[in-house]
């Protein structure tokens, strides 16, 4: 298939960083070699090794009409970056937008003091309102309200590669034709949790950090946001939009090595860099620049330099390499998007930002950027992100003057190969190897067991839905820090507090090296995970992915956050423990006949009205008797839309009050639907619906291809 017109263009960029609150301000300061590092002023962290951070000062926290609460700093940065990017792209009114944002801590800064109070029951309405910004997915609503026209959203966490994976999600929506523009990026604000956590890990440098230097002493934390506008080449051409750069390739994968340490062999990182180049149809010789992850820690930089030397090979001497973290600090969940935006600006301006503070590289052979380089002819560039838990993403970008690479992409049908549901009686801990599951909480244990039972081979990925992450465990960590001081917080606990930790733990435990990350959409988190996994399979960045969600007991979620944040999905707020997982697989084009439960014929998950979602998933005509609607919710909005759709006369079964599994229920119901659609049961179509006023999901299942007669 020709890719003409299908190439993905970047037509807008917005950045909020310690160096400036717009993309031009940030990039020109980077090109002057300035550092945005200063002593932490947002809060007093106590006795920590380093207070030097990249803080966004004078942030204008504005309310956005329609969100009903004051924005957190994370959300305010996301809104500002999105507005800047969209303004630059000059979007046409009426365009269908998708918003994907990566992050790790959401509104933690504004809510951590409140949530770690011992008495949570006496919440004033004003305090309760503040808690609305806690979950990772909180940024989506204000960004959607600020932009208008948003039909699909996704909140992504893969630790420090979150913002990069958001770009891949955007590319998937464009590939599916689900949106006209993908508004993608990441945002992460500084908070006590990350300052205390990285301090406990001994990962911070009290001096300004020196990525790739022999004498580097760790990282400096930072905060910020970046948002990019992506669209099809044909769309940019039709409306005469300026193309800043092309997003030609991407690779998402996990190391399956350790929850904090990168694989020192650099083999997984090198493989991912090569995969992104291959997807972009480029050779290392065509690269002009790599914006490296380059955190300044001993382990990351040694591993990354080795991977780059290996991949660049004979071209290593001609490809500029720099890390922006010495100037901006490590913006964690935002960094993948911030650095992708910087790479776009480097390509569009022919200007390469430096690695400030680098005096003696540890490894010889790379062309480090010692001083800013102007007037460079750059054709192609990589931006790489290697996160905790080995969750990584590499983006391949190209300058606007380059021609489309040769690549063939064909959408492949998606099968549900296997499905599994679990509840508290499963006792996942007892079925895991005790040594390899040390420190796993219930969520990690469910995820590891599900991953191990469903994985086919090492290339399998894992997309896990989580509404809030481990709130109780996080607040216990913070309470201990405030009672005993920063030196007394347990270092090994911190890596388990990022929302993607269960996904990372499961990947290490079960040896999954495909795309591994978490998605978050309150009670719809399980459905969001299934949709995100299916999107990535259709995009062709993986062949098989385990998707689903697990809902462990968490008293703060049950008593406070769940009822407060998701009243529309009240029937899911009564929580039991549970988990549901599916193995999704992209079938080979030559009609793979190996056994599958069902085909996933269509899917939708997001804030669009369910009637619009149902109009693209029509019931077969005439409505066959052998169709079934499975309801994972019973909200009036859902039922009214169903009545008005072509599915109104189809038999229904409701699971809305059956499981009480909260964010895992969607995956549990889908697992059930897949069993019903399994070949030989006589069911031709199963529509799995859930949602409320806030977000809906719809999945259409059909029988899998039959085994050939022999």
């Amino acid at each position: 298939m020709s890719v003409s017109g299908r190439r993905i263009a970047v037509t807008g960029v917005g950045i909020v960083s310690a160096l400036g609150q717009t993309a031009p301000a940030t990039f020109s300061a980077l090109m002057r070699g300035e550092r945005g590092l200063s002593p932490l002023s947002l809060f007093d962290p106590g006795d920590v090794r380093s207070r030097l951070v990249g803080e966004v000062k004078g942030l204008r926290v504005t309310d956005v009409a329609g969100t009903g609460h004051e924005l957190s700093r994370t959300d305010a940065m996301a809104v500002a970056a999105a507005r800047e990017a969209v303004k630059q792209a000059r979007l046409a009114p009426g365009a269908r937008l998708g918003v994907a944002l990566g992050g790790t801590t959401g509104g933690m800064f504004e809510t951590e003091a409140e949530l770690s109070r011992p008495d949570l029951a006496s919440l004033s309405p004003a305090r309760a309102e503040q808690l609305m910004s806690y979950p990772l997915s909180a940024s989506l609503a204000p960004v959607a309200a600020a932009l208008g026209g948003v039909v699909v959203t996704r909140s992504i966490c893969s630790a420090c590669s979150s913002g990069a994976i958001a770009l891949v999600q955007g590319a998937a929506w464009l590939e599916r034709g689900e949106v006209d523009h993908a508004i993608v990026g990441g945002a992460d604000g500084l908070c006590r949790l990350t300052v205390l956590g990285f301090n406990a890990l001994g990962a911070t440098d009290a001096e300004p950090c020196r990525p790739f230097d022999r004498a580097r002493g760790g990282l400096n934390l930072g905060e910020g946001a970046a948002v990019l506008v992506l669209e099809r080449e044909a769309s940019a051409q039709a409306r005469g939009a300026e193309v800043l750069a092309w997003l030609d390739g991407y690779a998402v994968g996990a190391e399956a090595h350790h929850i904090t340490h990168p694989d020192a062999s650099a083999v997984p990182a090198a493989a991912l860099l090569r995969a992104a180049l291959a997807r972009a149809g480029r050779s290392p010789a065509e690269l002009g620049y790599v914006n490296a992850h380059g955190t300044g820690t001993q382990q990351n930089d040694a591993m990354e330099a080795r991977a780059l030397l290996d991949v660049l090979g004979a071209s290593a001497g001609s490809v500029w390499v720099s890390s922006s973290k010495a100037q901006l600090g490590h913006t964690l969940g935002a960094s993948g998007a911030v650095e992708a935006a910087i790479t776009v600006l480097a390509l569009s301006q022919g200007a390469v930002p430096p690695s400030v503070g680098l005096s003696e590289p540890e490894l010889a052979g790379l062309r480090h950027v010692r001083a800013p380089q102007q007037r460079q002819r750059l054709d192609a560039a990589l931006s790489s992100s290697f996160g905790f838990g080995g969750m990584s993403c590499v983006l391949a970008l190209a300058a606007s003057h380059t021609r489309a690479p040769e690549r063939a992409h064909r959408a492949r049908p998606i099968a549900i190969r296997a499905a599994i549901s679990m509840d508290a009686a499963t006792e996942p801990e007892k079925r895991l190897d005790p040594e390899r599951s040390r420190r796993f909480d219930r969520a990690s244990s469910f995820a590891a067991l599900g991953a191990e039972l469903l994985r086919r081979d090492a290339s399998t990925g894992l997309v896990l839905g989580t509404a809030f992450g481990a709130v109780e465990r996080t607040m216990a960590f913070l309470a201990r820090a405030s009672q005993r001081g920063p030196r007394h917080v347990p270092p090994a606990e911190f890596p388990h507090l990022v929302p993607s930790a269960p996904a990372g733990n499961a990947s290490v435990y079960a040896g999954l090296t495909g795309p591994v990350f978490a998605v978050s959409d309150l009670a719809q988190s399980g459905e969001a995970a299934v949709a995100a996994g299916a999107d990535l399979l259709e995009l062709g960045v993986a062949s098989r992915i385990v998707v689903g969600a697990c809902a462990p007991r968490d008293s703060i979620v049950e008593r406070v956050l769940g009822p407060l944040l998701d009243p529309g999905d009240a029937e899911r707020a009564e929580r039991g423990e549970g988990a549901g997982f599916l193995l999704l697989e992209a079938l080979a084009a030559d009609a793979d006949r190996s056994p599958a439960l069902a085909l996933l014929l269509g899917h939708f998950q997001g804030p669009l009205e369910v009637s619009s979602a149902l109009s693209v998933l029509p019931a077969p005509e005439p409505v066959a008797e052998r169709c079934l609607v499975l309801l994972g919710a019973s909200s009036p909005e859902l039922l009214l839309s169903l009545e008005a759709s072509s599915w109104s006369r189809v038999a229904r079964r409701s699971f809305a009050s059956a499981g009480g599994y909260h964010e895992a229920l969607g995956a549990v119901v889908l697992a059930h639907g897949a069993e019903l659609a399994a070949e030989g049961r006589g069911v031709e179509r199963v529509l799995v619906l859930s949602g409320s006023k806030r977000a809906f999901s719809a999945f259409l299942l059909g029988p899998s291809p039959r085994e050939p007669e022999s």
């Binding site: 406990a200 890990l201 001994g202 350790h258 929850i259 904090t260 340490h261 005790p434 040594e435 599951s437 040390r438 420190r439 030196r487 007394h488 917080v489 347990p490 270092p491 090994a492 606990e493 890596p495």
Partner: protein, 97 residues
């Protein structure tokens, strides 16, 4: 071996099991002289950080950072020697007081 020395090693082993989540391991499973990291118990540098914090908490001592601290955690015996030299608060309960 004096009663005090064996009691100290026993407390160190309890700290290891509890702080490092060594599920299913008992004090008898941990050899006094066996290396804790790499081979042996198979602990890693994240465990080393956790152990340093736990030893400081439970025994009221300060563990040197970086290379100087590395030898301290070579084995249960090495930790016991360090604690004896550092004049650890022998009377403190294993729950950290």
């Amino acid at each position: 071996m004096s009663l005090a020395a064996s009691e100290l090693k026993s407390r160190i082993k309890r700290a290891l099991i509890e702080e490092l989540d060594l599920r299913g391991k008992s004090e008898q499973d941990i050899d006094d002289a066996a290396p804790l990291f790499g081979e042996g118990l198979g602990l890693d540098s994240l465990d080393a950080l956790q152990l340093a914090m736990a030893i400081e908490e439970r025994f009221g001592v300060t563990v040197p950072e970086g290379d100087a601290g590395r030898g301290v955690f070579a084995s249960v015996e090495a930790i016991a020697e360090f604690l004896t030299r550092a004049g650890a608060e022998g009377a403190r309960s294993s729950e950290g007081g």
